[in-house]
Amino acid sequence: MKIDITHATKEIGGSILLDDVTLTLQSGRIYGLQGPNGSGKTMLLRLIAGLIRPSSGSVAIDGKKLGADMDFPPSVGLLIENPAFLPNNTGLKNLELLASLKGTTDSGQIRRTLSRTGLDPDDPRKVRKYSLGMKQRLGVAAAIMEQPDLILLDEPTNALDDKGIACICDILRQERERGALIVLACHDAEILYPLSDEVIKVCDGRVERGQMK
């Protein structure tokens, strides 16, 4: 998979949230987005996910333009902003409902994904009883359970303890080995730099390519 963002600008209500962004992203790599709050990291993730369309410029995935040739990337897993689930269902039931939309993931795969993120697939508790960290793990599980080619994660380590952070980092490395393209927004440089193959700095809606491994 190859993502080409060409001179993409996003303007909402007179404010420029993304300013002339040009990037090329390749599969099998982890790209880290770093920048202060409100710099445009989440907006850039939403742009790549197809949730918003650029005011000018384009986003193309393997040569096909988002918004023109297709609405969304063909295989994407995302965790953008807060992990969102049906609060009165268990974690397993939530993932089963999401997986049933595409019908490409069986129950065994969902259970294995939950175990990988450190959650018990047989936990009878409803999601509303989960701690913030558990919800975050479930959000990551939802993003990776269908083994997507593109994984977009916004602050996936929020509310996680050290063990949780190590677990998520291991999962992301395994997904990279599988060949997935991962874009990760994280304000914590200590997590972002060791994990990323390339760090992209975002400031006032503009991007600057940074450290490359």
Binding site: R53, L78, N88, L101, K102, A142
Partner: protein, 284 residues
């Protein structure tokens, strides 16, 4: 993909507490109506015990005169046909606003696309809203059948409010059970379109309660406008208010062409408005 998404949406619509809450409230109102009928039937039976005209007098409190969709006088009937837009919206009308706010929308559309999401959401909201209105009406008919004496209504009965020009009026006097079942279907359609009014409103209001009140408030305002229109024009013989058109026997006639034209308009407005808000309009 569409069928799978619709199945998932229907499962979410029918397996949530709000759907059962709405059914419970609707059924309680419906049972209030039955209780009032039971008291009336008991009182009338005592009065008429020694009368030689029992069969004729019994028509006035027979099943198809006392049914909640026809009588329009009991507390249950008045209350149900006033709050039905809220009952329709409660089961799943809130879901689009809630999913947009929580971010679940992004999880779903990234898997199925915006159009599939909208079509599935629309039909799930429609079906759940329709069920929430039509099930208590049907239940009322069936439970009333245990309480009220049954007789085929006759045109000469003073108590029947359905007259010439009303939708399916001939059927009411010839096959009332079929009329009753078909009217439950009409109420299903009204419940469906009322619930779907929440979809275009879902992007405009932040609070779910506001979204749930949109069908009710809109229909109340429309009712006021229709009342004024009926009083000044030559339309006083037609019932124009959608709020009252859910009743099988409103004060003025409800011919089929009017009923289905209004249902068509409501369907088109909610569908196109919802499509614009969910599919075309960008959510930032």
């Amino acid at each position: 993909m569409m069928l799978r998404c619709l199945k998932t949406e229907l499962r979410k619509a029918f397996q949530n507490k709000m759907f059962f809450c709405s059914l419970l409230v609707g059924s309680l109102i419906s049972i209030t109506d039955v209780a009032q009928n039971a008291v009336l039937v008991r009182r009338m039976t005592r009065i008429l015990e020694n009368s030689s005209e029992i069969s004729k007098s019994a028509e006035g409190f027979s099943l198809f005169v006392r049914w909640i969709a026809v009588n329009g006088v009991t507390l249950g009937s008045n209350l149900f046909y006033f709050v039905w837009p809220i009952l329709a919206a409660i089961p799943y009308g809130w879901s689009w606003a809630e999913e947009r706010k929580s971010g679940l929308y992004a999880q779903i559309v990234s898997r199925v696309g915006r159009r599939t999401y909208f079509f599935s959401k629309y039909w799930a909201v429609f079906i759940s809203g329709g069920a929430a209105v039509s099930v208590p009406v049907l239940a009322n008919l069936l439970i009333n059948a245990l309480v009220c004496p049954y007789c085929v209504p006759t045109v000469l009965m003073a108590a029947t409010p359905i007259t010439n020009g009303y939708f399916l009026s001939e059927l009411y006097y010839s096959a009332p059970w079929i009329f009753g079942l078909l009217w439950c279907g009409v109420d299903f359609l009204w419940g469906g379109v009322a619930a779907c009014m929440c979809l275009p409103a879902g992007t405009r209001f932040r609070h779910q309660v506001m979204v749930l009140l949109v069908p009710f408030v809109s229909l109340i305002l429309l009712d006021a406008v229709c009342s004024m229109a009926m009083s000044i024009g030559s339309l006083d013989h037609l019932e124009l208010s959608p709020l009252r058109l859910a009743l099988a026997a409103p004060a003025s006639a409800n011919p089929g062409w009017l009923l289905f034209s209004l249902l068509g308009i409501f369907f088109s407005v909610t569908f196109l408005g919802g499509y614009w808000e969910v599919v075309k309009h960008e959510l930032n």
